[in-house]
Every structure is written in structure tokens, then in C-alpha cells.
């Protein structure tokens, strides 16, 4: 749960820079979301009235996504792939960058889903854990495989996730890794294992993510625990002890959300547990100064998923859109813009035509060896979620 910036304006700016924001936290908008989560009912966001007709009748598809998460042409102010989809399919897509963080989005629409009301979206893009929650609660509509033949193009590593075996309800939109990042000047030998972060010469120069699943996930993996398989509270706590120790000793200076990038840039931190896409970006903006690798013991893999709400008015349209973006050519165009892991097989070959340098990137088109070394944090039960996030908070907020 990444710390969200207290000021919505900064947060918007930050998202614009990061292309992605995790679960969030601080501040007015966050609090409002939390409050919204307490209430029931509430008003639906605009667009709910767009097509109250039975599914299939509508020609409009409303899609909620994160900011800067789809190829965008600044000059024409359009989304090229989306335009093409509209032309080919005859549908009109209302593309909305409405998801600012998972908790907030969930708080806004979950009560209506629980009541079986249309939330105004035909397609949404939640992160794994929220997708898991919706599927478990029956808020997601099953995908009609006949309408999405390109579904077969999903990367093998993503085809069978614990929360949705066989991908009956969801398809990955984009993924990213959490791993080790370091300043190549200050740490010339790089980092290979998680324990390298605890080297005495990095004392006070380490920053780790406030996203529990990534930071604790990496530590657990270093302790030989497979985080995608059932593990015990003791194993979770053993990893937490390591974090506590390193925070107490001052080895880890801060535990941060998206702003860890700033620490890397101004050299407040020389090494970090960070996200692949971020390091890709700061390297592009500040000269190729940072290295990124998954620890030898493994890194984490997270994904945002395309999901059709159970109450969607235009399920067939949403499926057509899913199918469109699982065409390797279209997927490559998106990947060339967003720079996160492309979940579609064959997109790499298409990318070579667009930009061979990007096609060679390990962090957009990971090799099997990399994917084998990346783990998806297993779904937590509600009790575990509460208990773990509470214990994690006790460590990162001494």
C-alpha cells in the first residue's frame, strides 16, 4: 500500500510521472474514499446512465483505467489504438482515467456492486488483490471465451494465477516487478541478493517500498519461502523481524511509496527495493544511472487486470475490447508507450518493428528465466490481510 500523496494535485502529478499508483493511503482524497467505503449506496459516478439497456444492445463501452496507462498521442490528443478499435468494431469507447488507487476505487463502486447496481463501467483495471476480492465476491462477470479468442496469447506465467485459475474472469493488462535497484556509481558491484542491501557500506542509504507485498515478499523469498504458495504467519513474521531489525539499526532510512524514486535521484538513497517500470523511467530521464535486478532468491510480480463488472451494461463490447488488446500488434503499441511488462505473447516480435531497443528490454519482455524468478504474492484471507497489514504498520511506523 503505497503512501499516497496528501495533496491531490501532487498525487496527480506523481501519477503522471509514475504511470502507475498502487494502493494508497494518505490524505484528503484517500480519506474521502475511506469514508465512502463506510457508507452504503452513494451515488454512482457519471456515465452509469449511459446504457441501462441489457448487455449487447449498447454501442458504448466505458472503461476505467489508471492514468498514463494507454498509448496516447499528444498532438492529436487521442489514443491511437483505441481509435482503431472504435473504427474496426463500431463501438464507442469512453476511456476514463478514473482509478487513482485501488482502495478508493473499490470504496466508490463496491457498495453498488454488492447491491447488483450498474456502476457505469463495462471494463475496469484493478490490481491483483482487488481483482481477487471482486472475483471471490462475485462482482466480476465470467469472460465468454468465444468472444475473446486472443485470450490464448496470455503469457504462460500469467495464465494460471491463484485468484483466477485459467483466467475465467480476468486478463492481465500490464505487470511489473519489484526487485533491487541501485545507483551504479555508488554501488559499482551491483546488488545480487537481498542480503546485499544490509551491507555496512549502505548503512542509512537504503529505502524500501511501503507496499507490504513487495517488501515483505522479497524478504520472505530470501528466507526460502515461496510467497505464491501457502505460508504461515510465523514465516511472515520472520520476514517482518528482518525489516524491523534493519529499520531499527538505521540501515533502512525510510519506507516509502512512489517517492522512493526521488530519494534515488537526489542520492539520498543508494539502494532500494523498487519497481521495474520506475527504474526504467528514471534512467530514461536522468541518464542511465541505476541498475535493476531481481534478487537471486526471487522478486515479486504484480499485475493490473482487465475485469468486467458483474453489472456491466455492455459485456460483449468489453470482451471485444479485451480481445483487441490481446492482439500482439496492439499490445506492442501500448507497451511501447507504458513501458511495463507486456502480458501478450508475440508482442515482442511486433515491438521489434516499432522499437528494437524496447523489444530487447528484459523488463518489458522478460525472459522465461526472469519470469521463473518472479513470484505473485498469494491471496490473503481477510483475517490475514488485517493482521499482516497491522503488523507491517507497527514496523514501518515505529
Amino acid at each position: 500500500m503505497t503512501e499516497k500523496h496528501p495533496d491531490p494535485r501532487i498525487e496527480a502529478l506523481r501519477q503522471a510521472m509514475s504511470r502507475r499508483n498502487f494502493l494508497a493511503a494518505v490524505g484528503a482524497t484517500g480519506a474521502a474514499a475511506g469514508l465512502a467505503a463506510c457508507g452504503t449506496g452513494g451515488t454512482s459516478t457519471s456515465g452509469s446512465g449511459s446504457s441501462p439497456a441489457a448487455s449487447g444492445d449498447s454501442k458504448t463501452i466505458t472503461w476505467a483505467n489508471w492514468t498514463l496507462y494507454l498509448d496516447y498521442d499528444k498532438e492529436s490528443k487521442t489514443y491511437p489504438t483505441l481509435e482503431r478499435f472504435e473504427k474496426e468494431s463500431g463501438y464507442t469507447v469512453e476511456y476514463r482515467e478514473d482509478i487513482e488507487d485501488n482502495v478508493q476505487f473499490n470504496g466508490k463502486v463496491a457498495p453498488q456492486l454488492a447491491n447488483g447496481q450498474n456502476i457505469g463501467y463495462d471494463l475496469v483495471t484493478p490490481t491483483d488483490w482487488l481483482a481477487a476480492e471482486w472475483i471471490r465476491k462475485g462482482y466480476a462477470a465470467e469472460i465468454d471465451a468465444a468472444n475473446v479468442p486472443n485470450k490464448k496469447n496470455i503469457l504462460t506465467a500469467l495464465a494460471d494465477v491463484p485468484f483466477d485459475p485459467g483466467r475465467q474472469y480476468s486478463l492481465t493488462w500490464q505487470s511489473g516487478f519489484a526487485g533491487l535497484a541501485w545507483n551504479k556509481e555508488k554501488v559499482p558491484n551491483g546488488l545480487k541478493t537481498l542480503d546485499d542491501l544490509w551491507a555496512p557500506e549502505l548503512s542509512g542509504k537504503v529505502v524500501v517500498l511501503s507496499e507490504m507485498r513487495d517488501t515483505i515478499g522479497l524478504i520472505m523469498l530470501s528466507q526460502g519461502v515461496d510467497i505464491s504458495q501457502p505460508f504461515t504467519t510465523e514465516q511472515f513474521n520472520a520476514a517482518l523481524d528482518v525489516l524491523q531489525q534493519q529499520v531499527d539499526s538505521g540501515q533502512i532510512k525510510q519506507v516509502k511509496g512512489n517517492s522512493y524514486k526521488e530519494d534515488l535521484i537526489n542520492e539520498q538513497a543508494w539502494a532500494a527495493i523498487g519497481w521495474s517500470g520506475d527504474i526504467f523511467q528514471i534512467n530514461a530521464e536522468n541518464g542511465d544511472k541505476w541498475g535493476f535486478a531481481l534478487p537471486e532468491t526471487g522478486g515479486t510480480l504484480w499485475s493490473d487486470n482487465l475485469l468486467i463488472p458483474s453489472t456491466a451494461a455492455n459485456k460483449a463490447g468489453a470482451e471485444a475490447l479485451m480481445n483487441f488488446y490481446y492482439d500482439p500488434k496492439n499490445a506492442a503499441e501500448v507497451a511501447a508507450y507504458v513501458n511495463y511488462v507486456c502480458p501478450v505473447k508475440g508482442a515482442k516480435e511486433e515491438m521489434e518493428k516499432i522499437d528494437p531497443k524496447l523489444a530487447a528490454s528484459e523488463w518489458i519482455f522478460p525472459t522465461d528465466a526472469t519470469l521463473d524468478n518472479a513470484y505473485v504474492f498469494r491471496p490473503l484471507t481477510p483475517e490475514e490481510q488485517t493482521e499482516f497489514s497491522d503488523s507491517f504498520g507497527r514496523v514501518i511506523q515505529g
Binding site: 493511503a25 494518505v26 529499520v247 542520492e267 497489514s389 511506523q397
Partner: protein, 307 residues
């Protein structure tokens, strides 16, 4: 002067009793005028407060989803939260940090207000604008700017390293120092302006009179000027201390895990753990503690005799 006057008015003026009514219609008008304010308070203060209190007495639904709670009037929530060191330590820390920040703001803000009020001359308004000017930039942005200034590779640390105050690898951010400095900086105008408003109203003839009565300038200040500015000092310290105690931005942006304040704990408990009852309990405890401290403080200072 209009800014200062406005501030002075809101802070110092007791609500005046309505003029004696000559007929019933007038009395009715007074109530009617109060209605919007009362409604506002009821809807946006009283109702949320009751809702918050009810939330603080809830317990999790057994086997329920994350964030599902039921009303069980569990008053033990308060005892459990108060005895848990992950909550009471940041609570105590918040009061220590905001207390130090308030004192520092007073030490910096009083001379500043004094200088503007008595020595500002024709530059008074300009100086006042300069005190307020930082507000034109977002609070968050200014606090983030301090991160750059205090960073290990920043100018402040570079100077401190040369004069040997911090070691070669040492730094001053993130730290308790940085958090308290951020609090002091961010709330300084709230301290300065009410004090200025009080000082500005002090009749210079009174100070002259103290001199005529053979008081040294220092004695004159402590016997005449300072007591007359006390309402401003009280208002300033309250306006600084109360928001500083509940602040979480400075600790989040300038602190380490060990500098966490209660506001950060409430935010994390509410949004990340989704433990709404505990977050509500913490909010209530914070509110109650501040209220008690403020009441004791006002009693001690006894401003009503001075106004």
C-alpha cells in the same frame, strides 16, 4: 492592516450579546441568522462526530471481510488501544514534537511580530504580506522542498559537514529534527499573526507611561507590553499546537519510521489496515487529550482577565 484586524477580531472578540430586543420579531431574526451556522455545525460537525464515536465502539464481524464491522458498543476498544505501545508512543511523541515546535514558533514569531508592529513603519503591510506569502504555495510543496534543502547532498548538510557538526556520512533528514523544524516552519504564520494583532493594538502611550514611571525598557516590556499581548500569544500557541499535534504531513515527508506521529498511525490504521474502530478510537483520544490540555492551559494563563 486589514488582514491583521480581521484576524484579531475573530480571535479576540467574544460573541457579543444581541442588543436588547424591543419586540419579538427581532429576537426571531437573531435565531434565524444563527440558523445557517447551526445547521452547518450540526451537519458537518455533530453528526460526523457521533458517527465517529459509534464507529469507535464497533468490533469485527467474525469471519467477515476486511473492513466489516458490527456495532457492539465495545468500550474496551479504548482500553486496548491506549495500552498498545504502537499507538500511545506516537501519541506521546506527537505532543512532544508539537510542544517543541510551538515553543520554537513562539520564540521566533514573537520578536518577528514585535518588530513588524513597532518598528515596521511604512513597511508594515509589506512585512505582513511576506509572513503570509508562503501560503501562496501549497503546504505540501513547501514541505517537499525542505526535503531537498535538508538532503544529504543538499546545501545545509554540506555546510554542517565543513564545520564538523555532522560527520562525513551523517545527515539531518530524515530525523526528529527535520520533523520538528517542518512543524515550526509550517505553523509559524499562525503564531506570528495573532501576536501581531495584539501588539498592534497596544497603545504606545501605555509604554511611554511605563517609562515615565521609571521602568527600564525591559521591565516595561514584561510589565506592560507582554501582558497586553497575551491574548495574541494564547491564540497563537493554540493555533500552532492544535494542528501540529494532529499533523501527519511533516512526519510522513520529513521523518523516519521512528518519527511517526499519531496522525500517521490513524491514517495507516484507517486506510491500510481498514481497522476503522481503532482509527476512530485514536481520533477521539487525540481530540480529548488536546481539549483537556487546552482547557488547562487557558485556565492557567487566565486570559479572560486580560482581554
Amino acid at each position: 492592516m486589514s488582514i491583521a484586524a480581521a484576524i484579531g477580531d475573530t480571535i479576540e472578540d467574544e460573541p457579543k450579546p444581541p442588543p436588547p430586543s424591543t419586540n419579538k420579531g427581532r429576537k426571531f431574526t437573531a435565531y434565524l441568522l444563527m440558523l445557517p451556522g447551526m445547521l452547518w455545525l450540526a451537519i458537518f460537525f455533530v453528526i460526523p462526530l457521533v458517527a465517529l464515536f459509534m464507529t469507535s465502539l464497533q468490533t469485527p464481524v467474525p469471519g467477515g471481510e476486511v473492513g466489516q464491522f458490527q456495532q457492539t458498543f465495545s468500550f474496551s476498544n479504548y482500553a486496548e488501544t491506549l495500552t498498545d505501545d504502537t499507538y500511545y508512543i506516537p501519541l506521546i511523541r506527537s505532543f512532544i514534537y508539537s510542544g517543541i515546535a510551538t515553543i520554537l514558533a513562539l520564540l521566533i514569531g514573537y520578536p518577528l511580530a514585535y518588530a513588524i508592529a513597532f518598528k515596521g513603519g511604512k513597511y508594515r503591510n509589506l512585512l505582513l504580506v511576506m509572513v503570509i506569502a508562503p501560503f501562496f504555495v501549497s503546504f505540501i510543496l513547501r514541505t517537499i522542498a525542505w526535503r531537498q534543502i535538508l538532503a544529504d547532498e543538499g546545501p545545509v548538510v554540506a555546510v554542517l559537514r565543513v564545520i564538523g557538526v555532522v560527520g562525513e556520512t551523517g545527515g539531518i533528514y530524515p530525523s526528529a529534527f527535520a520533523v520538528i523544524m517542518g512543524l515550526t516552519y509550517n505553523f509559524l504564520p499562525f503564531m506570528t499573526l495573532p501576536i501581531y494583532a495584539s501588539l498592534e493594538r497596544v497603545d504606545p502611550k501605555l509604554i511611554e507611561a511605563s517609562g515615565d514611571l521609571y521602568a527600564k525598557p525591559m521591565t516595561g516590556f514584561f510589565k506592560v507590553t507582554f501582558p497586553l499581548s497575551l491574548p495574541g500569544v494564547v491564540a497563537g500557541t493554540l493555533l500552532t499546537f492544535i494542528p501540529a499535534a494532529g499533523d501527519y504531513v511533516n512526519a510522513a515527508l520529513l521523518g523516519r519510521p521512528s518519527n511517526t506521529m499519531i496522525g500517521n498511525r490513524i491514517e495507516y490504521t484507517f486506510l491500510s489496515v481498514n481497522d476503522y474502530p481503532t482509527a476512530a478510537v485514536l481520533s477521539f483520544i487525540l481530540m480529548a487529550t488536546i481539549l483537556i490540555m487546552v482547557l488547562i492551559y487557558i485556565r492557567r494563563v487566565g486570559t479572560e482577565d486580560l482581554v
